[in-house]
């Protein structure tokens, strides 16, 4: 335990302290430790893992809905594409840039950019549809230089480089953990076909066997392991297992 005492200042101490304060001001007015980024004309470099606007790659998307499920702000809602699959849309009027969606996207279809300085004149424009997330958007940029913060052992320095920082980064794909859906209790299946209907990749098919009983079949090659059928199965007889 450490006892803290408050400073006592006698008259002499006071005079010294007044002089020190004035001295600091005088020194700073001559050699200031300015730490200002002249923003519209120069831009601060953000790290590659910066959480900014999202971009989307439909080829990698398995339409697992997890981005929509995990979004704490309900900013991601799914929309049907021409190929009848559901792809995410982002409403930046709600998005909180937590990137839980990016961290939930097992295919790596969602990726981050370093765009974060945008002004909308209308709230309706803030909804970004899937087709707008495919290509790199253009923002108004007035910057000619980029600034990087360098913190060495002594102080913070601003390193200015006369180059325009790129806002789009290459991202590493997530670790692949191949999973497939498996029925653990076929006898309990009630044949409601919800799993078939909900499956976006068409991995689950049904066939009527003898005596009119539906038989569900899971194609393990097609299955993306998204887990939607597991979640929807009313009898809780589906489970994700390692491939």
């Amino acid at each position: 335990m450490k006892k803290v005492t408050v400073p006592e200042q006698g008259l002499g101490e006071k005079v010294i302290r007044h002089a020190t304060a004035i001295g600091v001001a005088m020194k700073e007015s001559v050699y200031p430790l300015t730490a200002t980024v002249f923003y519209p004309r120069e831009r601060k470099k953000m790290p590659d893992n910066f959480r900014g606007y999202l971009m989307f790659d439909p080829d990698k998307c398995i339409s697992c809905w997890e981005c929509a499920f995990v979004c704490p702000a309900n900013a991601i809602q799914m929309k049907v594409a021409p190929n009848k699959r559901y792809y995410p849309t982002v409403d930046y009027g709600k998005c909180i840039f937590c990137h839980f969606c990016v961290d939930s996207c097992s295919g790596g279809a969602l990726k981050t950019t370093k765009i974060h300085d945008v002004a909308y004149k209308d709230m309706d424009e803030m909804l970004t549809l899937t087709e707008e997330m495919l290509e790199e958007p253009e923002i108004i940029r007035e910057d000619k230089k980029s600034v990087e913060y360098v913190i060495d052992e002594h102080d913070l320095h601003l390193k200015r480089v006369r180059e325009v920082d790129t806002l789009f980064v290459a991202v590493t794909p997530p670790v692949e953990i191949p999973m497939v859906s498996q029925c653990i209790d076929r006898a309990s299946c009630i044949g409601c076909r919800v799993c078939e209907e909900v499956c976006e990749s068409g991995a689950i098919s049904s066939s009527t066997e003898q005596r009119g009983i539906l038989r569900m079949k899971i194609d393990t090659d097609k299955c993306t392991g998204c887990g939607l059928c597991v979640k929807e199965c009313s009898m809780r007889i589906l489970r994700l297992v390692k491939k």
Binding site: K3, A73, A119, Y120
Partner: protein, 773 residues
């Protein structure tokens, strides 16, 4: 709104004589009336401090509405605040502009279905919306530039998306069924707060024995629910007696939490008081005294204010939330946190809007919010009359005032002396506790972080620790140290935030700028670690989202020494400035007894001489493995509180340095507990791609799980009540340090001079969003 036309200002600028001069003058002289309503205010401060210096663009921050011509709405406008926004806008001279920054003020962001939110765009005409939560300073300045361009005649959105072709093949040929919600709610859950747990805790067993002997027939049951946690069940009649007994002989001296749980299907409320003690051996023990009462429209319950003044505001809050009338509490005749029209929102039959997962045409993106019909929220007539009679001068400070923060202080003055201050909080009440009951456990991580974005890691850590406690997960060693680093960075950041505010409150803008430069360094470290400046959401149950690189570790290590150069200048110009010392010394003194009685927590309690720091009392993460000291003081005045925290920050830097060195020595490995990941244990180095798989269906065991964390401003308590079946919490109670300290501010300022109020207020580091939640 007849004046709600967005282009009205432009028309004003274009009419009359000298239009080019008028436009030019207005363009370069947009003085924002900073409407610091919520967390985005922190980033606004960064935009106007030395890191980005918004004054370059001619935008000089001005707190006074009559002289400003630009409102920057920083985030949440609650029902109570709506009125202030409208009035401030009306007070401003034409032409005036409004920018809304942050998602809360647009479609609600993470609070989109909150019961206490309104939309600024429905209250005043808005020129530009800047997305983000919070926005970055660059975003804010981009908004300023956009307004400047609008004045010049280019009214445009600053981003242009290119529309690309979506694939027309690759699907299964037909639309799939829309899946149901990911949330599982048990229809009639069994709610128990005293689920017994087998723990190895001898002291607890002895304590229970002695409690049983002492309380005699006053209790129904005494259960050990976890290590250091005891639950005593009693009847409503006996509750006060039990508590009196506890405080008399056992030495229990303060209340940590007042909580009510609504169980509609059993037609009951569970009312609980979490009590604890600052005497050496009982420090880590939290005793929950609870009872059940009938679920009526306005049930009556005895108040404990006579015993502990610290429960006062929490009881009023529960009165707002559940409609329980605490007999004996003076504040039961109206609303405290909420706007008058909101009725008992935390009862389970008060439903919030459900999430939609499919984008449908014609369906609004966010629920329609009814604006409060009456935008007036005056002071009670009785108060004014009484003040008139006793010849007091009543001043309303806030909610929109340069030195009020976002709450209203009703001050009664006699000359230059403060007779009484009545707080009117709730201007940033965003209903976190209600929202948490409707979200997955994992979705609540960003939610609770928004309680205080100047101290985000600690907010995050507290909640995650409660979950980990419930699940009994052991966090990997590396993650523990990294979490310690983050928590300490956050603590340092919070202290410098408060230093900046205190120096502004005492009129010293240079002090503010100096610490903001230091904060800029901290945020740089945070952004490189997590990818976000203020809201990292990085700590997840079982560890952290991903490992951090060696570069960042080196940078953090450098930070511990690089800070000194600037800190010394700050010391010279501000801390040891004789004027500052004169302003804070001997002001707002709270003795040890008073501090405990009013329920003050954290460094402010330590400044009054109580040696209580949760990092030592109930060590978590890596704190017990590092060498550091708790700081206490005896002065108990504003200066003592400030210097105590300053010393604590020096200790934090010590912890930081040791923790970084330890992490650097450690081999890289898992940073998330494999136990919690289960099948997805390959993701233990980086959760990317598997967050929802691993955490979407997290269900906590039945019972109440309480974690206490030493946040930047004091004891942060999370109490999660789980029914053991749902993957959403049944109830989450969060008691933030600022909420507990509110009482202290009031009591410390009474009898002081008017200007002292700001010295006291600033020294307590009060952060209204954290208090109001």
């Amino acid at each position: 709104m007849e004046e709600g036309d967005k282009d009205r200002n432009i028309r004003i600028l274009r009419s009359g004589v000298f239009t080019p001069l008028r436009r030019w003058g207005t363009k370069w002289s947009l003085w924002p009336c900073h409407f610091v309503t919520s967390c985005c205010g922190v980033e606004l401060a960064h935009a106007f401090a030395c890191g980005f210096d918004g004054e370059r663009l001619g935008t000089l921050n001005m707190g006074i509405s009559r002289q400003a011509n630009f409102i920057i709405v920083e985030g949440t406008i609650t029902r109570k605040m709506a009125r202030a926004l409208r009035i401030v806008w009306e007070q401003m001279p034409d032409p005036k502009f409004v920018n809304v920054i942050g998602a809360c003020g647009q479609r609600g962001g993470i609070f989109w279905n909150s019961y206490n939110l309104t939309r600024p765009s429905e209250i005043v005409p808005v020129d530009f919306f800047i997305p983000g939560c919070p926005i970055t300073p660059e975003g804010l300045l981009r908004g300023v530039r956009a307004v400047q361009e609008k004045i010049e005649g280019r009214d445009r959105t600053t981003i242009k998306f290119k529309t690309a072709e979506l694939p027309s093949e690759g699907g299964k040929g037909k639309e799939s069924r829309v899946p149901t919600t990911a949330k599982i709610f048990a229809p009639t859950p069994l709610i128990k707060v005293d689920v017994p747990k087998e723990v190895d805790w001898d002291f607890g067993e002895d304590l229970v024995k002695s409690l049983k002997a002492q309380l005699g027939g006053l209790y129904k049951s005494i259960t050990i629910t976890d290590k250091n946690r005891i639950a005593i069940k009693t009847t409503p009649e006996n509750l006060v007696k039990v508590v009196r007994e506890l405080s008399g002989t056992t030495g229990i001296d303060h209340v940590k939490n007042v909580n009510v749980i609504d169980v509609p299907h059993e037609r009951k409320f569970i009312v609980e008081y979490m009590v604890s003690s600052y005497s050496e051996e009982l420090m880590p023990v939290i005793i929950t005294v609870f009872t059940e009462i009938g679920r009526e429209a306005e049930p009556v319950f005895p108040s404990l204010t006579a015993l502990w003044e610290s429960v006062d505001y929490s009881e009023r809050e529960m009165h707002d939330f559940f409609g329980i009338r605490f007999e004996g509490n003076e504040g039961m005749n109206g609303k405290f946190l909420l706007a008058p029209e909101t009725q008992t929102p935390l009862r389970k039959d008060f439903k919030l809007e459900e999430e939609r997962y499919v984008l449908e045409d014609g369906v609004p993106f966010a629920p329609k919010i009814e604006l409060p019909s009456d935008l007036k929220m005056p002071v009670s007539e009785e108060l004014l009359e009484e003040a008139e009679k006793s010849d007091d001068f009543v001043v309303l400070v806030g909610p929109h005032h340069t030195g009020s923060g976002h709450l209203r202080w009703i001050m009664r003055l006699k000359g230059d002396l403060i007779v009484d201050i009545i707080p009117d909080p709730g201007y940033v009440h965003r209903s976190m506790e209600k929202l948490a009951e409707n979200r997955l456990y994992i979705q609540n991580i960003p939610l609770f972080e928004r309680a205080n974005i100047s101290d985000p890691f600690n907010m995050n850590l507290g909640y995650v620790r409660a979950i980990e406690k419930a699940l009994g997960i052991e966090v990997p060693e590396r993650a523990k140290y990294i979490r310690t680093i983050m928590a300490e960075l956050s603590r340092i950041g919070a202290f410098f935030y408060d230093s900046g505010i205190l120096s502004l409150f005492t009129g010293h803008s240079t002090g503010f700028m100096y610490v903001w430069a230091i904060r800029e360094m901290i945020l740089e470290a945070v952004v490189r670690m997590t990818g976000s400046r203020c809201t990292p959401s990085f700590i997840i149950p079982g560890g952290i989202r991903r490992d951090i690189s060696d570069d960042v570790l080196n940078m953090t290590s450098n930070f511990t020494s690089a800070i000194n150069k600037r800190l010394r200048k700050f010391e010279d110009i501000f801390i040891y400035n004789p004027v500052f010392i004169a302003r804070t010394k001997g002001v707002g003194v709270l003795t040890r007894e008073e501090a405990i009685r009013y329920g003050i927590v954290g460094p402010f309690l330590r400044a009054s001489g109580v040696d209580y720091d949760i990092r030592k009392v109930e060590p978590y993460e890596a704190y017990d493995k590092l060498d550091w000291e708790v700081t206490t003081g005896d002065a108990g005045d504003s200066l003592g509180r400030y210097m105590g925290r300053y010393e604590e920050i020096k200790q934090s830097l010590r912890i930081l340095k040791q923790a970084v060195d330890a992490v650097k020595r450690m081999p890289r490995g898992a940073v998330i507990s494999e136990e919690v990941l289960g099948e997805y244990r390959e993701a233990s180095k980086d959760i990317k791609g598997h967050l929802f798989h691993a955490y979407g269906n997290l269900v906590l065991p039945k019972g109440e799980w309480t974690s206490v964390t030493e946040a930047g401003r004091g004891t942060l308590l999370y109490s999660i009540i789980s029914d053991g079946e749902s993957n959403v919490p049944y109830r989450v109670r969060i008691v933030t340090p600022c909420w507990m300290n509110l009482r202290g501010i009031i009591e410390a300022s009474k009898g002081e001079r008017v200007a002292d109020f700001w010295a006291v207020y600033g020294s307590f580091g009060y952060f209204p969003p954290e208090a109001d939640r």
